[in-house]
């Protein structure tokens, strides 16, 4: 059962400036879409437009053939977005944060312990997020991604603040996700190596 995220002629203006024009793509289950471009080229804006946070000047984003605007709840229930900012509460512990996130979207069958071990952050459980380093916080954000049972992963600069081991872990997780029928959209300005079908959208 394949699913598909597609876009037709997306155009976005910010004030008077045109960030991108007539961007189209399609990504199916098992595929990775890479948004490439230098800093400020509009990668994050394109991602925000895909998830519906920014209003497009023209063009449609489709999920499984239907416009996203007509099925907002279904679409948002099928994705997890790891943005620039981690998006977790600094005052709460790792577990309290993830327990909150679990109430928002469908959860997978992998237990919390297993996921934390996979990411190597089990010993950080009782600490407030504030005490964690930036890289560790990133791993907690990845935990949120792994715990959810959603087909579409959107990752904005996922390698930020991660060491080499962390980066290869991310690519491993993405590969596993693709292998189990998921799909991923990634904004990166580094080269990404993966053994899976890759489409690229290059922004100027």
């Amino acid at each position: 059962m394949t699913e598909q995220l597609s876009a037709e002629s997306l155009t976005l203006f910010r004030g008077d400036r045109c960030l991108f024009r007539d961007v189209s793509f399609a990504v199916n289950s098992g595929e990775l879409l890479i948004l490439e471009g230098s800093n400020g080229s509009g990668k994050t804006s394109l991602m925000k437009a895909i998830v519906g946070m920014l209003d497009l000047e023209s063009g449609t984003v489709l999920w499984n053939g239907k416009p996203v605007a007509e099925q907002r709840q279904v679409f948002h229930g099928a994705l997890v977005w790891t943005a620039h900012r981690v998006g977790l509460k600094a005052d709460l512990t790792l577990v309290e944060n993830l327990r909150f996130e679990a109430a928002l979207r469908p959860q997978g069958s992998d237990g919390l312990e297993k996921v934390l071990e996979r990411l190597g952050i089990t010993r950080l459980k009782p600490l407030p997020l504030r005490s964690l380093s930036a890289g560790q916080q990133r791993r907690v954000a990845l935990a949120r991604m792994l715990l959810a049972d959603v087909p579409l992963w959107l990752m904005d600069e996922p390698f930020t603040n991660l060491d080499r081991e962390g980066r290869s872990l991310v690519m491993q997780l993405v590969k596993e996700h693709l292998d189990t029928g998921g799909m991923c959209v990634m904004a990166a300005h580094q080269d990404v190596e993966i053994d899976a079908p890759v489409t690229k959208v290059v922004l100027q």
Binding site: M1, N64, Q73, L92, E101, L104, R105
Partner: protein, 232 residues
Amino acid sequence: MTAPVRRMPGMLDGLLAVARRDLLLAWKRPGDVLNPLFFFAMVCTLFPLAVGPSAEQLTFSGPGVLWVAALLAMLISLNSLFISDFDDGSLEQLLVSPQPLPLVGLGKTISHWLTSGLPLVLVSPIVAITYRMQGDVVLVLMLTLTLGTISLSLLGSIGAALTVGLHRGTALLSLLILPLSMPVLIIGANTVSLAAGNETYSAGIWALSAYAVGTLSLAPYATAAALRISNE
């Protein structure tokens, strides 16, 4: 092309989860809850100091002063309703969750009222007694404050959503919320004054209830729209 069916959390799950999370956060930072209360008490102390502590003055001005102080204390606490979520990125995460945004906003507003409006109501008798308010009038005060602060929390969430992330959002928030809350202030304070004068005050209670119910049904949608606009 059909998608596999996944167990989606219920509609109210988001509201409850958000409310619970915010209460947990307030628990970890009790100062945020206590500050507006101290402010309320201080403002109520300022008036007798400035205007004179004569008994008639106190009984006459009591309802009004307490109501204005409550309104200002609510304003202070409303400032931070969405700011921390906006700053750390959790607000955008809420915007892309499948949970209905009006309910998520309502969840935040509910926990905000529980940590600002409700404490005000509970503290008000203590201050009211210093203003020589009689027991039954104090009850009317608490009732009007309960209904009024509910409306204020809801209206305030709209203003907070519109001004989150804006430079000097605080001053602007006050400018936006005060006109919206004036009807509540007028009716609330005047109802307590009527009660103090032994006149029938039920009309005011009905009006405040209607206001609370009205804002409860409409404000969440405005807040959700405002949150989306502010996060563009």
